[in-house]
């Protein structure tokens, strides 16, 4: 007799709760008589003939529906969520509350700057903070997520080569472990992608790199710590190789947790970096976004930064546009990017302060190394056993998959039953049956221990009742979902026929 045996009255999609003619007049504007009856100045050929199918529900139905939907999610506010490369740390509630003060929400992006000085002061100071923490010369906040930050970075590299007339550079190098956005971005900037392999110890194959670079090399896209969760030790050498070949170095700074306040991409020799404020600076993931992907650059790329940026001179903050920065690659959004996300990151950065930043590195790395060692002690295989973990590390379940036919995905689903979100599975692609595990600094030791115990229990279950594990989860709003059918029998828009 479980929760699932009785259909709950509030289940179903919102359209199934809709009732023709139900209206929620409290939210609609009142029209006076002349407004409803006056003939429209719009020609009939441009007018809609029939109303769109939108839900017709009461306000309470809506509140109940979406409140109940929310309860079907795992989230940081409810669960441990050790999703590697995603930095699911605590999102301080104050960042939300303060960013949503009415005075900030009402600021029109095209209003005179006098009406938004407090808002713009926050953005300006965030630029300064990010410069310092990355060791770059200048920062533009405008990219709206990591991938757009990557785009801005690669477009700047291209603009730089173009500005020097160095137009034969048509190739970008990426390690095979790179996040998918890297190659996709390079292509959006008109480049071809050349992959280079990762060595067994997790570092880049420097010999392969040497062979790959040449006059066709526009640049390289790297992450350090890399996406396999180790610090690239020969980074200075790599920088020299690429620079000597005339290429520039792009730093995918989606995950800065492990190095915040410890080592700076600018000091490693990188020319451009993007940051994911929705990871390191703890703005919420919101079930998929929004994020913010500011870019920082070294001296030589400064002229090319995307606009707008915020400037402070005398006693007023103002927007810098293409007019002020003629070599800029241009605008990436209609206004100033995901400003509200930037506000939340700013508040977080000020709460941390200079002393809080290295602490993040220290405790996120401590948590990752502790989990890595403990899981190894419980018999799990590490992908790079000779290395320190950074903010994350990789366990490979290849052995389990082969021997017991219990895959990483099965472990992942069973973890959900135990009340833990699964780690990142099957990324990076080069490690088979992998779990990329990132505990973050905001989790306590008891929670890490609980997760480690759950892993050990599932291992035991896999040995004794593999069938059961393969059919997990059991305790969630849905049992395992049929992805294949989702793609084959495409149902992406509800219709009442069924």
């Amino acid at each position: 007799m479980t929760r699932n045996t009785i259909d709950q009255p509030q289940d179903g999609v919102i359209f199934e709760k809709s009732h023709r003619g139900r209206s929620n007049s409290c939210q609609a504007p009142q029209l006076n008589a002349s407004e409803t009856t006056a003939p429209l100045s719009i020609p009939a050929s441009l007018l809609r003939k029939s109303a769109p199918l939108l839900p017709e529900v009461s306000e309470m139905q809506a509140v109940r529906h979406f409140t109940r939907l929310s309860q079907k999610n795992f989230s940081i506010d409810t669960h441990f969520y050790p999703l590697g490369s995603c930095t699911m740390k605590y999102n301080p509630r104050a960042c939300n509350t303060l960013a949503m003060l009415p005075g900030f929400l009402n600021f029109h992006p095209l209003a005179p700057v006098e009406t938004g000085q407090g808002f713009m002061a926050c953005l300006y100071e965030l630029q300064e903070i990010l410069k310092e923490v990355t060791g770059m010369k200048a920062v533009s906040l405008t990219p709206m997520a990591g991938a757009q930050g990557e785009f801005a970075g690669m477009a700047m590299i291209r603009a730089y080569h173009d500005a020097r007339g160095d137009t034969a550079r048509c190739e970008v190098i990426c390690p095979d472990a790179a996040h998918g956005t890297n190659p996709a971005t390079a292509v959006m900037c008109g480049y071809k992608v050349k992959e280079i392999p990762t060595r067994a110890d997790g570092d880049i194959d420097i010999e392969a790199l040497k062979e790959a670079v040449g006059p066709q090399t526009a640049g390289i896209m790297l992450t350090n710590p890399s996406t396999v969760g180790v610090f690239e030790r020969r980074i200075t050498e790599i920088a020299k190789i690429v620079h000597d070949a005339g290429g520039l170095l792009y730093y995918d700074g989606a995950n800065l947790n492990a190095i915040l306040g410890k080592v700076r991409p600018g000091d490693m020799g990188f020319d451009v970096i993007h940051m994911n404020l929705h990871k390191t600076f703890s703005t919420p993931h919101g079930g998929g976004g929004p994020g913010a992907g500011p870019v920082g650059v070294s001296e030589r790329l400064t002229p090319f930064l995307p606009v707008p940026m915020v400037d402070y001179r005398g006693d007023q903050y103002r927007w810098l546009t293409r007019k002020d920065r003629p070599q800029s690659i241009g605008q990436l959004s209609a206004f100033a990017g995901n400003a509200g996300v930037l506000m939340r990151a700013y508040i977080y950065a000020r709460l941390l302060g200079r002393e809080g930043m290295p602490r993040i590195a220290e405790y996120s790395v401590l948590n990752a190394n502790y989990m890595m060692v403990e899981l190894q002690k419980r018999g799990f295989d590490l992908a790079f056993p000779s290395r320190r973990a950074t903010h994350e590390f990789i366990v490979t379940l290849k052995r389990q998959a082969k021997r017991l036919d219990v895959t990483a995905m099965d472990f992942a689903k069973r973890l959900l039953d135990y009340g833990y979100h699964a780690p990142t599975t099957y990324f990076p692609l080069l490690v088979p049956e992998c779990f990329l595990i990132e505990p973050t600094e905001t989790e306590d030791k008891e929670t890490l221990d609980g997760f480690i115990d759950a892993m050990a229990k599932i291992q035991h279950e896999a040995e004794t009742q593999a069938e059961m594990v393969r059919a997990a989860p059991y305790t969630l709003p849905s049992r395992r979902l049929d992805d294949v059918r989702a793609a084959r029998e495409l149902d992406i828009v509800w219709s009442s026929k069924e």
Partner: protein
């Protein structure tokens, strides 16, 4: 330590388990010469009390009556929306990769897709792009991929498309050799003159049609769509979602409807907030769905045969297809989409229609009031949605706007830089938030300002 739960005992136990003596040892793979000292230029940490006080001080700003639109619109936002959206389970969840643990977010997106498809008259919707402008850039890239009849990378981009959008599209598509070719508008109507379109436009991948256009004016979307299709182009519609409660949905434009529909979702329950986060929406028909960028949620069944939801068609995306993906987009604007979904649910078709109608009527009324002022004329004769352009005779638009601000009115967006041919002109918007008293307030402020300026000039 803010946000870090470790006690000294915890740390010692963990270090012992790892087998190192201190935390510093965990960083021993980082070459010594790269390690830094302190971040001197960053201020020391504030506690929440001090930070809260600072932000409350900064949030105190003059709150003038806002008549600026130009791509970001002040609408009433039901309180329920953000109270629900900021619930931890929506706010602090990740992208719904583990479907079973993300049914809330997934079902919501499926519902969103349904609403957007119906609103635009298309068969499919993605789960969002960053904003309206970058969404249009993605639409351009998609059109080039999707137009099988054309090998061209030429796009017709009318001058009536929001200039900021055109700049963004330029930035994003130029590196792939795509060219944007202008289409001019008719000075009298403020819309594209269908009659004067070239009979032989050559091989062009797509025509972009804004509705309403940047001047607030309604384009002859039916004629434009048919002309484009007749010449082998796809049609990309850039639309205001509020207006769709009133206007023909792009799926019904001309004989065959638009091919790709995109736009800025901000009017659907998203605060102005200095420009973001907003979200871009994108819809198309099923035949093009595999060319669409961005996430898509599908309904499927679970192991017990019960309906459930999951991300689908992921082979279009960068994490699977990498350099061959339809786009590099990964993180999108999920939480803002949640807000828009709740907005559309709370308003319903009837409510949204009333918002559109009231906005239209308010702006019509305002336009009439303002035109009666000496030295103020309306620039265009065509029908418009909820924005309009006025021109000033012999006085500077900047000066007018400055003085209006001093009277507590944000008068509009200065068009002089983007459209020098219009002279001293501004784009003005009135939505359902503006009462008759607000309209009178603007009218009388502008009367005073014009009187003074003209008097001063005389």
């Amino acid at each position: 330590m803010p946000f870090i739960p470790h006690t000294e005992t915890d740390v010692q136990q963990m270090l012992a388990s790892i087998g190192v003596s201190d935390i510093a040892a965990l960083f021993d793979e980082i070459p010594a010469e790269l390690r830094i000292g302190s971040l001197d230029k960053i201020p020391t940490g504030l506690n929440e009390m001090a930070m809260s006080r600072l932000m409350h001080e900064r949030a105190v700003a003059p709150q003038p009556l806002c008549f600026i639109g130009a791509g970001a619109y002040e609408h009433h936002i039901p309180a329920a929306i953000w109270e629900i959206v900021t619930r931890g389970e929506f706010y602090s969840a990740y992208t719904p990769y583990q479907a079973e643990a993300s049914q809330g977010t997934l079902q919501l997106i499926y519902e969103y897709q349904t609403m957007m498809a119906h609103l635009t008259g298309m068969e499919a919707s993605n789960a969002s792009l960053y904003d309206g402008a970058s969404g249009l850039a993605e639409a351009v890239l998609m059109a080039v991929r999707a137009n099988r009849k054309s090998k061209s990378k030429r796009i017709l981009m009318p001058a009536t498309v929001n200039p900021a959008y055109r700049r963004v599209v330029q930035t994003i598509v130029e590196n792939q050799g795509i060219t944007l070719e202008p289409v001019d508008y008719q000075p009298g109507s403020g819309a594209i003159d269908t009659a004067s379109l070239p009979a032989e436009p050559g091989d062009v991948a797509a025509l972009v049609i804004p509705q309403p256009n940047f001047f607030g004016v309604l384009e002859e979307v039916n004629g434009l769509t048919d002309w484009a299709h007749a010449h082998g182009m796809l049609v990309i519609a850039v639309v205001n979602p509020t207006s769709l409660a009133l206007l023909t949905p792009p799926g019904e434009w001309g004989e065959q409807g638009a091919d790709i529909v995109c736009g800025e979702g901000q009017p659907l329950g998203v605060p102005l907030a200095g420009g973001g986060p907003y979200f871009g929406f994108m819809c198309c028909n099923l035949k093009h769905v595999r060319q669409m960028p961005g996430r898509i949620v599908g309904r499927t069944v679970d192991a017990d045969g019960k309906p459930g939801f999951a991300l689908t068609l992921q082979a279009r995306e960068q994490h699977i297809r990498r350099s061959k993906a339809t786009s590099n987009i990964c993180t999108n604007q999920g939480l803002v989409v949640a807000a828009a979904t709740i907005y559309m649910t709370l308003l319903g078709a009837q409510g949204l229609h009333r918002v559109a109608l009231k906005s239209h009527q308010s702006s019509q009324a305002l336009c009439e009031e303002l035109q009666m002022i000496d030295g103020v004329t309306s620039a265009f004769s065509s029908a418009s949605f909820h924005e309009f352009v006025i021109q000033f005779d012999g006085v500077s638009a900047d000066e007018v706007l400055d003085r209006l601000l001093a009277e507590g009115v944000l008068g509009g967006f200065n068009l002089s830089a983007d459209y020098p041919a219009l002279g001293e002109a501004i784009l003005v918007c009135a939505t359902e938030t503006k009462t008759e008293a607000d309209i009178r307030a603007y009218q009388s402020a502008l009367s005073r300002v014009m009187e003074k300026l003209k008097g001063g000039a005389a």
